[in-house]
Symmetry: C2
Subunit: 468 residues, 2 copies
């Protein structure tokens, strides 16, 4: 369905929305904050025609039923911390704002599950469950994202090396379909082989197949001890090449991040706080967790020795809460810190097999020289997921557009060559569609389009994203 086939919002529509949620939660025209027109980086913006704050599954269902009957495009949105434009209403229409559906509904300690609404923030989940000695392992850098957003991008984060990604911790969902009908998928059950896994389709579908209004998450017992190692290397190549050797040693760290001096300096500047060390060119930051000191000691000693054998300059053990906070808060600020050093930037979130990370990063170094543009990267060396930022600095619009396009094409081509994928955790949204089409080809994309059609025959839920 092309843009001009969608019905424009009229007075009757607004009246309907007010009849469902009341006047206070319907925003029109200038009353909508400009923030709702874009996310953090997606390179696309458009205001919704109307923005509605919802409080229940029933409200979402009523609005969706109406929108379906009247062919009005709808976009659901959480905190808007996405990076690929997935929550931008590129055809206008209704924006359903889920941030006020933010209640934690139930902690079930016999089934180790947490039931909650989609607007709960990631940082709140961690805090809540840890008070009960429980653990929600997914740990994306952006802690002010909503769990709804995390589910819809299948967010990964730092601890994927050991614990996996968001999908692995979603047991059940309540979903409002594009038609307005409500289905429950999964539940508190640990196993499920009851038909096609709609739950796993919704995870990572970026708001295009349904609107998640409730989720049942799987929890683990909280590991009682954790320790981080900050390990300086003479250069990035040596640092990253050590990672496959760590994995091969059969010690599985909780997290393995890599970082370069420039990025650390930017974070120090951005936070106004010193990093424990910034004298080396490259670092690995590792975490180990377990139930006792002895439990993790053997593992991290083995890994520390591997790193030293591979040329590490030192091993800093970070075992106090204060020191851990200093290191990991810097890591958490990298994206914003890099952003603050330039006028504009775009990012590539490829994932490659973890023994190909070094090769990819080396290639981005070459591109930096070849295209004479600043490129900064950091990311998850332990799971192969890179975050590579191309910085505009003082480039003119045309020059920037061209350079960005060329550099991105090179990077995604390289990723395919290394058996990688377009996105490790940020998704496809609007910004990365062409690269997905390029990699998967028409047969694969037409499957996705067919799935979209099965869910959304009128193509009104977040149209123009992922596979369209």
């Amino acid at each position: 369905m092309s843009n001009n086939e969608y019905t424009k919002i009229n007075k009757k529509d607004i009246e309907f929305l007010v009849s469902i949620v009341g006047e206070d939660r319907v925003y029109v025209g200038e009353n909508i904050n400009e923030d709702f027109s874009h996310d953090e980086l997606g390179g696309v913006s458009r205001m919704p025609e109307v923005m509605v704050e919802v409080l229940s599954t029933e409200e979402v269902s009523s609005i969706m039923t109406y929108a379906y009957e009247n062919s009005i495009p709808v976009v659901a949105r959480g905190s808007g911390t996405g990076l690929v434009g997935a929550s931008v209403p590129i055809y206008g229409g209704i924006m359903i704002n889920l941030t006020k559906m933010n209640r934690i509904l139930e902690l079930d300690e016999e089934n180790l599950t947490l039931t909650l609404e989609p607007g709960v923030l990631l940082m709140e989940i961690g805090k809540f469950v840890e008070e009960h000695d429980l653990f929600y392992p997914p740990d994306p850098g952006e802690k002010s994202a909503t769990i709804g957003g995390n589910i819809n991008t299948n967010a990964g984060g730092m601890r994927a090396v050991k614990y996996g990604v968001t999908r692995d911790y979603v047991r059940g969902l309540t979903v409002v379909l594009p038609t307005g009908k409500v289905i429950e998928v999964g539940g508190k059950v640990v196993k499920n082989s009851s038909g096609y896994s709609i739950k796993d389709l919704i995870c990572g579908s970026e708001g295009t197949l349904g609107i998640v209004t409730k989720a049942v998450l799987r929890l683990l017992p909280l590991p009682k001890k954790s320790i981080s190692l900050l390990i300086p290397f003479p250069n990035l190549d040596m640092a990253i090449n050590t990672v496959p050797k760590i994995i091969k040693s059969k010690s599985i760290p909780t997290a393995v991040e890599f970082m370069q001096r420039e990025v650390i300096l930017a974070a120090e500047e951005f936070l106004g706080k010193k990093f424990p060390d910034n004298s080396s060119d490259a670092y690995l930051l590792l975490t180990f967790d377990g139930n006792s000191k002895e439990d993790i000691e053997k593992d991290y000693e083995k890994v520390a020795n591997i790193c030293l054998e591979e040329g590490a300059l030192d091993v800093y053990i970070t075992d106090t809460d204060e020191r851990k906070e200093a290191v990991w808060s810097a890591r958490g600020a990298f994206l914003e810190a890099v952003k603050a050093t330039t006028t504009e930037m775009d990012e590539c979130d490829v994932v490659v097999p973890r023994n190909r990370v070094a090769e990819f990063v080396k290639y981005t170094d070459e591109l930096q020289k070849e295209f004479n543009v600043r490129i900064r990267s950091f990311g998850h060396a332990g799971d192969g997921n890179l975050h590579v930022y191309v910085l505009r600095d003082e480039l003119g619009q045309q020059q920037w557009d061209k350079k960005l396009k060329d550099v991105f094409e090179c990077m995604y081509k390289k990723s395919v060559e290394l058996n990688g994928q377009v996105s490790g955790e940020h998704g496809i949204g609007y910004a990365k569609k062409s690269y997905l089409f390029e990699q998967y080809g028409s047969e694969y994309m037409s499957l996705m389009k067919g799935i979209k059609l099965a869910f959304d025959p009128k193509n009104i839920l977040n149209p123009g994203k992922v596979c369209q």
Copy 2:
């Protein structure tokens, strides 16, 4: 598409198949072993018109392309150890036998992945990776199943409590689509947010969406120690009611199975071997694993104490390989042992939240009395997945049909009441379709049908299964 719209196999079709794989691997009419008309329990049988042994993705693709062009139904099959008729060619046509595609292709220790063909048996995977100190956690009872079958049912097994199910260990797949086109989904990458997760749709789709011809599995380091506890209780209720308390204690065993005296006696009879103890009415069998004795000692001591507080009669520690083998081989033989005590049986594989297991088992006891029929159950107390067998014994056909239907309806109704699902790990196939329809309703089922249509517009791949 109804039965009579499918093209019947003719001489030209046979000639085509021979041209692709050679005469030796094409079986027609009486040359097809009767075994290929049924699985282990699905209650349905029909011979394929032709059975073809394949050796490569290219062969499968050629056959599928031809079948698609000529509207011939196709069913793929591995070891045929299924229990719900998923691999039975209910519309005849071509059976693609994948058991000779049984090569392990690559062990990648830097990425902790195993690449293999779909016909590799589960028992071979365990043996192969353990020789390299690695571990493939999914552990379904039927070790002679193929990995292709395990992927297609999203098989669970004993260790799901701690390690999850097959889906959690599938990183990438090569899939021949119903059209004959070949796609690669996922790969060796640890994270992936690149469009709808086709990989997770194929897992658990019971051969209806595509034919898996290669898989990349995720491995873990092999835990160095494991120990089993066999814990007798005065009755089953007490045994099962202890499980949520174990989970709540934040000790996560690798496996928690429950078993009753009658089933143990049947296994002793069937195997001609004694179980370590058969004097009590009910047992829990638990395993703990970890990297050192000390590592797991604290956990199993805590759990042993919880069991004793809850009324366990004793705790037998099983830490030699020999004793473990005796206990677990008995557990592995339960299905066949129960089958050997009766003339015919059918099974219910529901999964409920793990704190509702006791309630469900109690209910099946009531049904046993109410319907005057023998019911035996065992299963995965730790993950809520039950295997409940209704035994025909000396019942006449009509009486059996009626009783089975009534008992099954009661059980699935109870499962819904307890927020359970129709199948924990055996799938829906042909035998459980009506219960899936009953539970999910038309909106949910039409989504599944829409997905099937997106993959298979002519409905030729394993028609009449899961959602049809």
